[in-house]
């Protein structure tokens, strides 16, 4: 019981760290492509972010099981890249079909983002990090959820800031991605301030 409690606490800590101090976008630069291109409006950013939270939590879990229960016993660890990609693609496809069947409204809001997610580096990155850092099953769930939440937080903040930017006069060479990167850098600076809040 005590061991389980310790593990749950570790999951909470890892989840918190993944949202703030180790934000997957702001410290490891993963998921930059959608971050720079889909962050023009808060609504779409929220839709994509929500989809990322959902997909990341479950693919981390599935990939953990596939890695530790199938690949490790077979000593086929190097095969993980292909397996992870296939699992992520298959999971996204299944979610798409289920949403389409049971919740057409949600599908309409989220549907266009789901295929995009398959090639989102952050999803694969989270799974690879969880393998390298040797998290246990429970901690992995916390990590996947926290990473997704951190990504959602970052893209929401960015979309909010960029909407205010519409009227500003940005130097010609910096327009678009340039200014987005500078804002991201400032956000990353701010997030460093969370270091040491929870240890």
């Amino acid at each position: 019981m005590n061991a389980l409690g310790a593990e749950l606490w570790q999951a909470v800590v890892v989840c918190f760290a993944a949202v703030f101090t180790n934000n997957i976008l702001l410290t490891t630069f993963l998921g930059m492509c959608p971050f720079t291109s889909v962050s023009r409006e808060v609504r779409t950013a929220a839709g994509l972010g929500g989809a990322v939270v959902f997909v990341m939590t479950f693919t981390c879990l599935l990939n953990w099981m596939a890695y530790h229960w199938i690949l490790v016993p077979l000593r086929l660890e190097f095969f993980r890249f292909i397996l992870f990609i296939i699992i992520i693609a298959a999971f996204v496809q299944v979610v798409e079909m289920i949403l389409d069947r049971f919740s057409p409204r949600l599908y309409q809001n989220l549907g266009i983002f789901l295929p995009l997610i398959t090639v989102n580096c952050a999803i694969l990155g989270a799974s690879l990090f969880m393998v390298i850092r040797e998290y246990s099953l429970i901690v992995t769930i916390g990590y996947g959820f926290g990473s997704g939440l951190g990504w959602l937080l970052a893209i929401l903040a960015m979309a909010g800031i960029r909407q205010r930017f519409n009227e500003s006069r940005v130097p010609a060479g910096l327009q678009g991605p340039g200014i987005t990167l500078i804002i991201a850098g400032l956000m990353a600076l701010a997030f460093i301030g969370f270091t040491g809040v929870l240890s």
Binding site: M32, S37, L124, G125, A188
Partner: protein, 207 residues
Amino acid sequence: MKTASVKPMQEIIRDGLWKDNPIFRQILGICSTLAVTNLVLNTFVMCTALTLVTALSCWTVSLLRSWTPRNIRMMVQTLIIAFYVIIVDVVLKAYWPDMSRSLGPYVGLIITNCIVMGRCEAFAGSNPPGAAFWDGFFNGLGYSAVLLVIAVIREGLGMGTFCGWPLPYFSTHWDKWIIMVMPPGGFFVLACVIWACRSIRPREVKQ
């Protein structure tokens, strides 16, 4: 992309290195590599891996282009890319374990790097293998050049070294600008590089 006419070599080189440079022109694929630009050596290894993977997967995709059914081509491309990435990963692990450890998951993340997929989809799918190989190669090179510039700036300002060697002025009189080797520095330097490149060729940005 034009399908019928084969692009001349010079044009492939110029587009890959400068005119359509993946980073400041297309803003693609910065995800997996920006994180290692705080050290020049790591960046160099990572960029070499990426250039090789891009060139070889473009070549393979192009070879198989008439046998690949259109509706599953994305999956086929992904598998081809993953195949080459696994080779790179295994080789690195066997012959340079320290580097493999310090690059961590980023080698694997080449799979989802948008450049590789982008070149396969935009050029290799409709061009002969030779041209596709060089297109992938020069796009990788153009990408690597920008990242190496970023890495040199970051390591020099942040630690006063180049590939681990102390630089004359920066290691003695320069106060180490630590933020440069931390993630925010990566964002700032990339933004400045894009700014500089786009200011040199402002007309390209408009369209």
